[in-house]
Symmetry: C2
Subunit: 341 residues, 2 copies
DNA sequence: TTGAAAGCGCTACCAA
DNA sequence: TTGGTAGCGCTTTCAA
């Protein structure tokens, strides 16, 4: 592996290494004549700066930590992609940390994050309490929360309007003519899960419809918990309650419910309607396709990335970090699973 | 950000930095007395070696490039996870390169790979011709092919027994009583696609069954191409051909076919049977669940990672790299989509 | 078995 | 606007 160094480029261009560095990083004015020479030399020698030397000198890794509950969940996968795309555009890279939905794991990742000397962190909180990550702030590592509110003070947040999503879903079911209503909840204490349910209850209370407590199920944003809710639903349902509309707090659970309904041979969307949240690819692929409240996962990831980078830049200039809060709107996607008229 | 350096550890332990380094990397004998002191100091100061200084000095990035056609394909996602897990265990990290199934993109990634100074590369080839990657070999960067044969000489390969998978799927459909047979092919020139079809034809020829050329469709390992095949199938089918068994060269296409069959309201598995390849999660979630030839994606990724690491170590000792070829067996998973007896 | 010191490739300070 | 050069934190000779 023949490494071309900045020295060789300097010799080729007949300037000093310092000048080459200045041209490459646009860090100080250089006469256009020398600039030209340097660029030619870089081209000719196919020079690629050594990022380790760079990082060592600059004390910046150009790596951003991205802490998420579950990378195998397509929703988070999309969010990550949004973040990564922006980071890539700004010549940074992402270090993905999968906590397996455990806050203790979040704490353990702090060590990794410090060891890898990440310049900043994007956090999709795994629980009610992400206090362990405050250590990062003490180490002057900018932290931005995405998707879920980690209930930490003094950090920027990028969220979606989840309660409104709950309202959209509920109104949709009512308008499609469903008569009784149920809900498969997300994990306790997670802000998205709480808000979605809140939106559901709000509309239920406002409009003159029934909510059957037998049709409110605990869930944890996994497919399996959706299956379980689906089975219980089928056990508890009676003919005079039909048609019944179910909101699942995420698509994976919605798909689980749908699977059980299919398997039991009941009529979807005729007697049962299901709406999910997220709009993951699978929602479209399932038969019948799943109506859902589309979350801007990609945008959330991207915006969070933007915010950390901004904060890192401010820190570089010894400015204090800004605390913003961005809330994205959500959108209802009608598909077959609720299409009963 | 207070950086604890090796010097401070040395002072705390009352030894030289060299000795600390020797203890940390187990690179030369150190008296147990000093070793103890060093370990205590490391613990006390919560020292974390600076990986950039390390990489700069050692000329090793500890990063392995992983070049794949499509990260959003769950099959490759699993393969990547297998590779990453092993790399993590050996304190290496992965740089994922998504070629979007284009060989030209592979060529472009060579630059990235060189710039990032990866120590080795795992390649899931995107086409018939991955010659552009031979540049890596010239730069003494070990290269291992995974999942697909990139038709390069002198490199190690980790594959699965795809033609046998084709045989398993075909025999399964015959035994389940299907009468005519069809196939949704994978992309031209990709070794997995070629072999799977070959296995299919072999069994068709051996046993006394019909293959209807009208039921052989082009595909490209995407869900959409499966949907298209499904639509054509429905157009061309006539009652006296039933029941008909279809093999899709991967699960995504199988799911697409299944969706169209569902949508048309025909009987699956009664009149139509579908088998896929890969065993992605969605195959289980779909209704009816999709029978499939399970590929050891995780194992393939892991084994490929093992092999690169091995080759890198050999290179470090100036040994020439070994060329092995490992072929994993595959397994038929019976689910609802073919369960007609 | 140990320590001193050179140097990996880069950036940024200082002086010109 | 430029060049010389110190030094980022580490590993690895070389000498003891």
């Amino acid at each position: 592996m023949s490494e071309v160094t900045i020295i060789e480029v300097a010799e080729e261009a007949e300037v000093s290494p310092a000048t080459v560095s200045r041209v490459l990083n646009d860090t100080a004015p250089v006469s256009s004549e020398k600039e030209e020479k340097v660029k030619k030399a870089v081209e000719k020698l196919n020079y690629k700066p050594n990022k380790f030397a760079h990082a060592l000198r600059k004390q910046r890794s150009d790596i951003i930590g991205v802490v998420v509950p579950d990378v195998s969940n397509p929703y988070f996968a999309t969010l990550i992609r949004g973040a990564e795309t922006y980071l890539h555009e700004t010549n940074k890279s992402a270090l993905i940390c999968d906590t397996n939905s455990k806050t203790e794991q979040e704490g353990e990742y702090v060590n990794t994050l410090l060891r890898e000397r990440v310049d900043g962190v994007i956090l999709v909180s795994s629980g009610e309490d992400s206090k362990q990550l405050e250590v990062l702030l003490k180490n002057d590592i900018p932290l931005v929360a995405a998707d879920r509110d980690p209930h930490l003070d003094n950090i920027s947040k990028v969220l979606a309007h989840n309660s409104h999503g709950g309202e959209l879903a509920t109104n949709h079911l009512i308008e499609k003519g469903y008569k009784s209503f149920g809900f498969v909840k997300g994990p306790t204490g997670i802000s998205t899960a709480v808000s979605r349910y809140k939106g559901f209850k709000k509309v239920i209370n406002e409009r003159d419809v029934t909510i059957n407590q037998n049709f409110v199920f605990k869930g944890d944003y996994t497919y399996e918990s959706g299956r379980e809710a689906g089975r219980k639903l089928l056990e508890r349902v009676q003919d005079d309650m039909l048609p019944i509309g179910i909101i699942a707090a995420d698509d994976l659970m919605g798909l689980g419910v749908l699977w059980e309904l299919n398997s039991a041979g009941v009529k979807v969307p005729g007697d049962f309607g299901v709406v999910g949240f997220d709009d993951i690819l699978m929602a479209k692929l399932m038969y019948p396709s799943l109506s859902t409240v589309a979350m801007p996962a990609y945008q959330i990831g991207r915006e969070a990335a933007k915010l950390v980078i901004e904060n890192i830049k401010r820190a570089d200039q010894n400015l204090n970090t800004t605390k913003t809060e961005k809330v994205f709107e959500v959108e209802l996607i009608e598909r077959k699973s609720t299409n009963r008229n």
